[in-house]
């Protein structure tokens, strides 16, 4: 048997000792005795302090001491626990499309896991598997990773395991791709008081494949050069159409779940741009990129804006189509000059050719962030994860009831003693 809060038992024992002391020194009405010469005693209050050589009112003393000890024990929270495992490991395994060779991390995770450990297999969702030799690792999916969700699930599992483990270790097996990283990762990670053992795997694979761009354009199309410069040329999850989109393109997006990016080579200048043509340059804002160049501003596209002109009007929009999506880009790229080869154009192209529903962010997370994710410290004690009041002993209500019942009995006995 262990106690969740042993200090309360000490407090209860101290209170019982206090009660015992009070029974030695308490002010009380002395025992009556007939004395014919009472009149010669000075008239002072009859209730006087007396130090009894032995504790008085043994029944009351017993009831009071037992009540405070029971109440202390109730707050201390005694629990009968089975044998605790010395270490329980929680393995967060990235099963998203960002993993280059999904089988290798799965083997590594299986090596790490023992009976009683927990596997958190995650991509955009996380599944929890309490590991045993009969369990299998879930298959990898094309979905992107969501490290924040994995961390939240793992922390919850760690708190659940704290009652049956002396120490808990968190292991993360993932390429830690930027696609799965968000601003919430580090704040969530800060909730974990120990370190995280990070085993980084190779990135790429299906996620990278999904971001390859199939370009349909003229031979001298500047954006084709930009795609080639990014190294993403090939049939994949994105189709960049520089001419008119066809029904086949839409069907491809509908069936494959890919992103059909319709970025016309010739953009008809909008009326708004004609009024600001004297500026000579435009700025397009997309997630993680601001591209400044002599863009040709077209009419605002339909759909959910994913890029904006500097005045806030939409420069590109996305409309869902089946499992995929269609993007309309109203940004004219000057054919002359090297605008298409500039870094800002590459980043803009990268931002507008991401997977449907989210901006494209590829590439590994910086090592500094990974080091912050791993953090310092080692294993975390199970008792450290138990928050005050978060866990209550099943015996606590009974002990509280017993203590209160004893106090009630004490009140009745005391009333009877006073009457007598």
């Amino acid at each position: 048997m262990t106690l969740l809060a042993p200090i309360w038992l000490i407090v209860g024992a101290a209170a019982a000792l206090g009660v015992l002391a009070l029974h030695f020194i308490a002010r009380q009405r002395p025992a009556p005795m007939t004395l014919p010469t009472t009149r010669f005693i000075p008239d002072v209050p009859a209730r006087a302090a007396s130090r009894a050589p032995r504790p008085t009112d043994l029944l009351l003393l017993l009831l009071r001491a037992l009540a405070v000890v029971l109440l202390g024990l109730a707050f201390a929270g005694p629990i009968v626990r089975p044998t605790r495992a010395p270490i329980v490991r929680i393995v967060m395994l990235d099963r998203s499309g960002a993993v280059a060779q999904p089988d290798s991390p799965a083997v590594r995770a299986a090596d790490l896991l023992r009976d009683g450990d927990v596997l958190v297999a995650f991509d955009t969702t996380a599944s929890v598997v309490e590991w045993s030799e009969h369990e299998t690792i879930p298959a990898a999916r094309q979905a992107p990773a969501d490290l924040t969700a994995a961390l939240l699930i793992a922390l919850g599992e760690a708190r659940e395991l704290s009652s049956r483990a002396d120490s808990i270790e968190l292991v993360l097996i993932s390429p830690i791709d930027a696609a799965g990283w968000s601003a919430a990762v580090l704040p969530v990670r800060a909730e974990w008081p120990g370190g995280i053992r990070v085993e980084r795997t190779h990135a790429g694979g299906q996620e990278a494949l999904a971001h390859r761009i199939e370009v349909r354009s003229e031979a001298d199309d500047p954006l084709a050069a930009t795609v080639a410069l990014l190294g993403r040329v090939g049939a994949g999850g994105v189709r960049l159409v520089r001419d008119a989109a066809t029904a086949a393109d839409s069907a491809w997006a509908l069936d494959s779940g890919g992103a059909l990016v319709h970025w016309p080579a010739v953009v008809r200048m909008s009326m708004a741009d004609s009024t600001s043509a004297s500026l000579g340059a435009g700025a397009v804002i997309a997630p993680d990129v601001v591209a400044v160049a002599p863009w040709i501003r077209g009419d605002s596209p339909d759909g959910r804006p994913i890029a904006w002109w500097v005045d806030g009007t939409a420069a590109a929009g996305e409309s869902p189509l089946g499992t995929g999506c269609v993007r309309e880009v109203a940004i004219g790229v000057p054919a002359a000059g090297d605008v298409a080869l500039s870094t800002s154009t590459q980043r803009l192209l990268h931002a507008l050719t991401g997977r449907c529903g989210a901006p494209a962010r590829l590439g590994p997370v910086a090592d500094t962030l990974v080091r912050q994710l791993a953090g310092g410290g080692g294993l975390v004690s199970g008792t450290r994860l138990v928050r005050a009041g978060a866990q209550m002993s099943p015996a606590t209500p009974w002990l509280l009831a017993a203590g209160l019942a004893l106090l009630l009995i004490e009140w009745l006995v005391r009333a009877r003693v006073v009457r007598s």
Partner: protein
Amino acid sequence: MRRSGDAPSLPPLGALLDAVRGVTWPARRPVHRRGAPGTHVSRLTGASPEFTAYRPYRQGDDPRRLDWKLLARTDRAYLRITSDRATIGTVFVLDASASMAFPEPGWDKWTLGAQLLIGLGAVALASGDPVGMVVGGAPTQIAPPRTRRGTIAELTRIVRETSPAGSAPLVAALGRVPNVPRVVLISDFLGDDGDALLRAARARLAAGDDVQAVHVLAREELEPPARALLAVDPERRQLERALGEETRAAYLAAFGAWRDQLARDWRAAGAAVHEAVTGEDPATAVRRIAHAALETAVERGVGA
């Protein structure tokens, strides 16, 4: 006073009566009344065979008291003076208030008072003195003074059948005492009628009677328990006082001063005052009281 079947029984009195056999308890002053011939010196000269002196005859003297033989030899008329000896009726007034039933459960004060009554009564009876008793209380028990055998048994029976209770004034019992030369009050004098009792005693003393006050004290009154206690007056239950470390010294001082004042007042009135404390041998107390009377008689030239 109450009749009680569960009262502590009076201890056997045989040993006490044996112990006081031979003790004399003389009158502290010459007996001024003529009574039956006894052992106590009388103020009167009489016709006892014990010669004291001759006195010339004066006109008015009883001619029967002339010493005719001396007149025949010397032709002078002298009276033969002889000491008169008389008995002295003694009545005991025994306090039967609740304060005498202390300490419980033995009622040591009551027991000691009863033993003193029986012991002194036996001594007086052995001298031929009539002995009676009045037990204070409601109702008052009265045994008129008698000299017959069985008087002690009668007194013992009354005492055995009486249990101290209540707070009847002792002065009422003193008022029921018949006209006898010696009255012995056996009490703790804790009743509310202390002044009235002293006035009544003064009246009897003024009439020439001998009044002796036997103050019965309990050892627990002189040395109360050291532990803290709530003292309750047995005659006034509503009177409660805490007796502890801080009040013990004041209690002892007040109680001692009261006892001293009581003895002074009674002695000033002419009464003899004796203290008897529970736990002491009653025969010793009887001897002490009798000896004190003898010493007083000797001091006054009365002789035994």
